[in-house]
């Protein structure tokens, strides 16, 4: 809707009076640093990984040092448990525990006497048929976009996330989908470019990698909420996304299935 407002403003006021932007100074409140946890466990060979950092003031440079010396434990509902190993500052990895579809995982993080817990259920894997290209008419004519082909199983409750890399550089764009409106359908999910700086029109010779994940409902809602609070004050009042981690920690713990396909543009 914001895009449409700008479009209307430009058309109405003529080319020379289009909307304008400028950088301004603002007074911002500060807050006590909070713990940030990024926890991922998949059903592939790669290790489960938990990254722990803290929040910093807005006026500081983007430096997020890892939190050392935390006790990080992941256990599943089939009796398996592992204390993760800190491989570098603030990064904790599994050595033996494997993610299995259908299981429920619990993460426990203890730092300086405070404990944070989160639970995530790894859904049953939905087959990712293929990765292709679809041409769509846009502002610049026919444009090719990477497209994920899959079939959603009948029954509401499936949530998907696609992560896109072009020439091994991640997009930073969020692609999530719930099957609320597409239940049971053969899906051709076109991964359009977003507003992110790294994206550009695909060129011949580009290598596109798309990872498809089946995530749980809490993670889906977390991602949607996080995307909405994008720092733009014209939309709904921004608020912190609902985290599935207890005790006021920011971030998420997600157990999801993962499958990656690669496509090279001719």
């Amino acid at each position: 809707m914001k895009q449409l407002t700008y479009l209307a403003a430009i058309i109405i006021t003529g080319i020379s009076f289009a909307s304008c932007t400028k950088v301004i100074d603002v007074n911002l409140d500060k807050t006590e640093p909070k713990i940030v946890i990024e926890g991922n466990l998949t059903d592939t060979a790669g290790p489960g990984m938990v990254k722990i950092t803290r929040t910093i003031d807005i006026d500081k440079n983007n430096n997020f040092p890892g939190v050392r010396g935390a006790t990080v434990i992941i256990k599943d509902d089939a009796g398996n448990e592992e204390v993760l190993t800190e491989t570098e500052a603030g990064v904790y990895k599994t050595m033996t525990l494997r993610g299995v579809e259908g299981r429920t995982y619990t993460l426990t993080v203890s730092i300086d006497g405070t404990t944070y817990t989160a639970v995530s259920h790894m859904p049953m894997k939905v087959a990712y048929d293929s990765l292709g290209l679809k041409e769509v008419r846009g502002f610049d004519g026919l444009v090719p976009y990477p497209t994920v082909f899959y079939r959603d199983p009948v029954g509401i409750g499936n949530y998907y996330r696609a992560v896109r890399y072009v020439n091994n550089i991640p997009d930073g764009e969020l692609y999530v989908e719930s099957d609320e409106f597409i239940d049971g359908k053969n899906r051709e999910a076109i991964l359009f470019n977003g507003d992110s700086e790294e994206e550009r029109v695909l060129q011949p010779g580009d290598v596109v990698t798309v990872e498809m994940q089946c995530i749980d409902k809490q993670m889906y809602e977390y991602l949607v909420e996080r995307e909405e609070a994008d720092g733009n004050s014209q939309a709904a009042a921004p608020a912190n996304p609902t985290s599935n981690i207890s005790n006021g920690a920011i971030g998420y713990f997600s157990a999801h299935t993962s499958e990656t396909k690669v496509l090279a543009l001719p």
């Binding site: 058309i11 301004i24 409140d29 983007n62 004050s233 912190n240």
Partner: protein
């Protein structure tokens, strides 16, 4: 999760009986009131009554001052249909009628029986030193009993500079204290801290659900054919209900029943045409007025292929016809059709618009009793169509009202004017539903249920001139609202999980609410130049607009009250001081108010308000309060005139689930709001005008910290709406050149410059990476308009 299904029998009968009992109770009260007053009549009194019209056009005049010179206090004003009635003892009198812009009329009447005296007022010639500005009596500010009521003079409004030359009465209204414009690119307005959905906008008695064109840049009201605009922001008269913050009552012209006239205007982005004339001279007339933009014509000339196939336009069309059957009966038929169309090639189409239709019957029952019966239809609908790469679907939605209204005005004596009546509305709401265009479409059709409701009200009110110094206006409105089947209604827990559902068949009463809404105001006239007033109003609102963004979208959905969503109830207390100076040439008023709001709504994080069968689970409830001081100073006559308005106010909400349940500043808050308006008649043909506005920036939520996840930087927010955007201020200047030929043909050129000193007022603020130094975060402000000059040409013949 346990679901129980209950079908409730017999409730229909119980509810109808309840409704009838309440209506009967109020008929009884009304009858007692009338009998009581009639009993007071000792000496033989007779009534003179009639209709006040303009001689040249036959248009009825609203608010003309009619009085009997020889009797102290024997005066009244003509009502919305030009009707007046005065009762005095038998005798011979002079009836005088005045209305600014017209020559005063006097009639000698001998009153020894009830007499009809219709009034035809002749136009006053243009005089430079007596510029006509108002449509109410000189000292109305001091003497009228209503508080917080403002009339907008259309002639004044037409002289003020506006963006792109598009006169917009909603933007002009926001130049009054207590009424704040929602901002650039937004035609909504906030009255005394209330939201934009709390304003009842009536066009010839029909409610208009979405009064904005082009996503909020312009309003749907074509000011060329408007006769009268009144805003009630304080004590709202008992005949109005359904919205808790204000009533914006817009009356259109009926059409000249003497001669044919064509008028219109050509502007930079839109043009309008107005045709009116008699069908049977003196007895019936018609009026057709239309407006359309042509911004999209330029799109067709573009080299860009994609812009060529695009559409962007809106239109308004008003059509009216009226017929005076005889002196005592007049019928009116009117319709309004408006639409916005946005389209991008054949991929994306979006259109929305209002349709209203009104049929009215004025009946002068006798010299003391005037009746108006209206049958009103109103709807607002939108359609979205998408045909793109396998995603083929439509979304359609509409809200539709059928409304029957009956109002009586009874003039038992010079001391009392009694109004009573009822209003019954049947609402149908079809929320947006996805309709897949084919089975191969990648999207499923949805089935969000429609909602049906029946809203009723009865009211009685009396305007009582207790004495020369004391004026009392009091009344009671009793409203009821019933949510009807057919439908499935859910019950949720605090976290929005479904815990129960009830199914009702068509016509069954699922939930009913009753609300008594007392209204009163007292005016104590200290001397003819000074008065103080106090008022109290309670209002109930049963329909709520789901709108999660600051700009308001055409897809915002109205939902009815239900078991979970309780009616909004607002109590407003106000106090005011009024003083006129220099022979009523200068007007000053100071008003303070306090509003207590119950059952206010806000939304959960990430709430999905569209295409949601369980939309009520996304809602959070709480209370609100608003208070403020409004100062207003106006110079009414003379070559130079204008006004200054200042509002100091605060509006807050306290919602379970937001901001830890603490009070937070509402997004409608404007601490300081200043409007300065000036008009100067330079010569007989040139008028200069200027507007300067200033308001505190919108309350917004800024981040307090940042963090990194998945390789991206995100922001952490603490208190809701604890920060402010930079202040908004703007100067508009305008000049109008008017030429009137001897044969009465008029043409004018209006030049205006919007935002004359080119201030980039903030529309939104976003936090982003610094382009030069990506390690740094910066705040970036976006503005919609810089300086915007425009020219408009208007003609009339």
């Amino acid at each position: 999760m346990k679901l129980s299904v209950r079908v409730i029998p017999g409730s229909t009968r119980t509810h109808i009986i309840k409704l009838l009992t309440n209506m009967l109770k109020f008929r009884l009260l009304a009858i007692l009131l009338i009998i009581g007053m009639a009993a007071q009549a000792q000496t033989k009194k007779f009534t003179v009554s009639g209709t006040v019209k303009a001689k040249s056009s036959g248009e009825t005049l609203i608010g003309a001052i009619v009085k009997i010179n020889e009797v102290q206090g024997a005066g009244t004003v003509s009502n919305e249909y030009g009707f007046y009635s005065i009762t005095v003892p038998e005798g011979t009198y002079t009836l005088s009628v005045s209305y600014l812009g017209y020559q005063s009329s006097e009639y000698k009447i001998t009153l020894n029986q009830n007499t009809t005296q219709n009034v035809a007022m002749a136009d006053e010639g243009q005089k430079l030193d007596e510029v006509v500005i108002k449509s109410e009596r000189d000292d109305a500010n001091v003497t009228r009993s209503e508080m917080g009521m403002m009339k907008l003079d259309i002639k004044t409004a037409n002289k003020l500079p506006v963006i792109m030359g598009e006169k917009d009465i909603l933007k002009t209204m926001s130049l009054m204290p207590g009424i704040a414009s929602a901002g650039d690119g937004n035609s909504g307005f906030y009255v005394r801290g209330g939201g934009p959905d709390q304003n009842l906008i009536l066009l010839d008695e029909a409610p208009v659900y979405n009064a904005s064109h082009l996503l909020g840049f312009f309003s749907t009201f074509n000011s060329d054919a408007i006769k009268d605009v009144t805003v009630y922001k304080g004590s709202i008269p008992a005949e109005f209900g359904g919205r808790v913050s204000s009533v914006l009552d817009i009356q259109m012209n009926e059409g000249n029943n003497q001669d044919y006239h064509v008028s219109g205007g050509i502007g930079l982005i839109s043009s309008k045409l107005n045709v009116e004339g008699p069908i049977q001279k003196g007895k019936s007339s018609f009026l057709v007025t239309g407006r359309r933009t042509y911004a999209d014509v330029f799109l067709g000339l573009s080299n860009d292929e994609s812009l060529k196939g695009s559409q962007l336009y809106f239109y308004d069309l008003n059509a009216k016809v009226n017929y005076s059957i005889n002196d005592k009966n007049r019928i009116y038929l009117s319709g309004y059709f408006g639409k916005d169309v946005l389209g991008f090639n054949n991929i994306f189409g979006f259109d929305w618009g209002n349709t209203t239709g009104t049929a009215r019957w004025n009946h002068i029952v006798n010299s003391k009793l005037f009746s108006n019966t209206s049958l009103i239809y109103s709807d607002y609908r939108y359609n979205i169509g998408i045909t793109n790469a396998g995603f083929d679907f439509d979304i359609k939605s509409k809200i539709q009202d059928w409304n029957l209204k009956q109002e009586f005005t009874y003039y038992p004596s010079t001391k009392h004017t009694v109004k009573f009546g009822f209003n019954s509305i049947y609402h149908t709401i079809e929320p947006g539903n996805i309709q897949a265009k084919s089975a191969e479409s990648q999207i499923n059709s949805t089935n969000v249920e429609s909602r049906y409701a029946w809203e009723n009200a009865v009211f009685v009110s009396d305007d009582w001139k207790v004495s020369d110094k004391l004026h009392l206006s009091y009344g009671l409105r009793v409203s009821s609202f019933s949510l009807l089947g057919q439908g499935t209604f859910y019950v949720f827990d605090k976290d929005g999980n479904t815990i129960d559902s009830n199914v009702y068949a068509s016509g069954e009463f699922a939930k009913t609410y009753f609300n008594p809404e007392p209204r009163m105001s007292i005016n104590y006239i200290i001397n003819p130049k000074t008065s103080i007033k106090a008022g109290y109003t309670r209002g109930a609102q049963y329909l709520h607009l789901m709108s999660n963004s600051n700009t308001g979208n055409p897809t915002d959905l109205w939902i009815p009250s239900s078991e979970i969503v309780k009616p909004q109830v607002v109590d407003q207390y106000s106090l005011g001081f009024y003083r006129n100076f220099k022979d009523n040439n200068y007007e000053f008023s100071a008003e303070v108010y306090y509003k207590d709001m119950q059952n206010q709504i806000d939304y959960r994080n990430g709430a999905q308000l569209n295409v949601n069968t369980k939309i009520e689970s996304e809602l959070l409830f709480g209370v609100g309060r608003a208070y403020g001081l409004e100062l207003f100073f106006k110079k009414k006559y003379g070559r130079f005139n204008g006004w200054v308005g200042y509002t100091l106010s605060r509006t807050e909400r306290k919602i379970d689930g937001i901001n830890n349940g603490d009070w937070y500043v509402s997004r409608y808050d404007r601490t300081h709001d200043v409007s300065v308006v000036g008009m100067y008649d330079l010569t007989k043909r040139w008028t200069l005008s200027a507007i300067w506005v200033y308001n505190t920036g919108n309350a917004v939520t800024y981040p307090a910290a940042k963090y990194e996840l998945d390789g991206e930087t995100y922001f952490y927010y603490s208190d809701r709406n604890a920060s402010r955007m930079p202040a908004y201020h703007r100067l508009d200047i305008g000049a109008t050149y008017t030429k009137i030929t001897k044969r009465g043909r008029e043409s004018s050129w209006a030049f205006s410059v919007y935002n004359a000193y080119n201030r980039y007022n903030p529309f939104s603020i976003a936090f982003q990476q610094n382009e030069v130094n990506p390690q740094q975060t910066q705040a970036v402000q976006t503005s919609l308009f810089g300086i915007v000059p425009s020219i408009t040409y208007n003609f009339k013949f």
